[in-house]
């Protein structure tokens, strides 16, 4: 198995681990970011071809990497970024309202 894929899995693992293990809201957001990065890395990886060049064809090239995952990655980045922004805004709000970043202490809603 190729190393980059292992890196993807490790990143994915780390992100999920951060999300479910941490009590700190900011760290959870960081975890989300890590998972997203791992997925984007995966997208880049699947577009990769050994010896391929970037899909900007100013002349003829022998081997060009797959442009679709790159476009998808861009989309995923933008979506992920927007999500993170909203998340952070909510974290700020929560911190102001609840005075804590501990995820288990923000619970007025239950039952």
């Amino acid at each position: 198995m190729e190393l980059p894929y292992v890196v993807v899995i490790i990143l994915f693992y780390l992100g999920i681990y951060t999300i479910i293990m941490n009590k700190n809201l900011i760290k959870i957001v960081v975890g989300v970011n890590i998972v997203e990065s791992s997925l984007i890395l995966l997208l880049i990886l699947i577009s990769f071809k050994l010896g391929g060049t970037a899909p900007i064809l100013d002349r003829k090239y022998e081997l060009v990497v797959d442009p679709i995952p790159q476009a998808l990655a861009l989309t995923a980045i933008v979506i992920g970024g927007s999500l993170i922004a909203v998340m952070l805004a909510l974290v700020i709000k929560i911190y102001k309202r609840y005075g804590t970043l501990n995820v288990d202490e923000i619970r007025k809603l239950r039952g």
């Binding site: 894929y5 797959d66 861009l74 709000k93």
Partner: protein
């Protein structure tokens, strides 16, 4: 008792994630032994330049083959900006953060024209070189962001009012759709460019690739304004 419970819980969590990782490892391993089919991308690579007129294939995927996705993600940014703007208070803004020295102020001022030109370049040359609306928009968004961290949010919002930002965002998004609609008016489908005979020109030239440069511009405006708005909203909390 509770400590044992806690330890158990921790190991349980670790076990879960470990299982997931190992599972993924096996799946990825198995996937790599399979034949990969890339008919679609091979088509894009061999015909994409002729079909869309853009030599940057990522751009041609983003704005032509899969332009609809781009509309969707533009909407996501707009939604995020709108969300953040209603979550932050309009009044009573206190600026957080450490004060900069005059040295930093001056540098920021100097690089603003540089950023404008760079951003515009990325946007307008998005179809013939690396770049495009998103990157260009991000670079452009750095200008108000720099001004904000430099002179404070009040000054920044005085120069470029939040309303103007949302106006710009709206113009970008509406422009994108209207450009897409041109395809329909030209007798083809939504977001058609080459298919609707909007001159694709000679690939590699500035004026080529049909609608793509204009779509790039719209996205650039939208992303720029949206990011600036998002940044300001995020730091607004005092």
């Amino acid at each position: 008792m509770s400590r044992v419970h806690k330890i158990f819980r921790k190991f349980y969590k670790i076990g879960l994630v470990l299982f997931l990782a190992i599972f993924l490892l096996f799946i990825f391993d198995e996937i790599q032994n399979l034949d990969i089919k890339r008919y679609l991308s091979e088509h894009y690579i061999s015909e994409g330049v002729q079909e869309t007129g853009a030599i940057n294939l990522v751009t041609s995927v983003l704005y032509d083959y899969r332009g609809f996705d781009t509309l969707g993600e533009a909407t996501v940014i707009l939604t995020a900006a709108a969300t953040l703007s209603f979550m932050t208070p309009i009044k009573k803004v206190k600026m957080l953060g450490t004060e900069f020295t005059i040295i930093i102020y001056q540098t920021i001022i100097i690089i603003i024209p540089f950023l404008v030109v760079l951003g515009m370049n990325l946007i307008f040359f998005g179809h013939i070189s690396p770049g495009g609306g998103f990157v260009g928009g991000v670079i452009l968004a750095m200008i108000p962001i720099l001004v904000t961290i430099n002179y404070g949010i009040t000054f920044s919002e005085n120069k470029l009012k939040p309303n103007h930002k949302s106006l710009l965002e709206g113009i970008g998004a509406i422009g994108f759709i209207l450009l897409g609609l041109l395809g329909i008016f030209a007798g083809s489908n939504f977001l058609a460019s080459g298919q609707a005979n909007f001159g694709l020109g000679n690939p590699g030239e500035l004026i080529s690739a049909g609608l793509i440069p204009y779509l790039n511009l719209m996205i650039g405006i939208k992303v720029g304004a949206g990011l600036a708005a998002i940044f300001n909203s995020l730091i607004k909390e005092g």
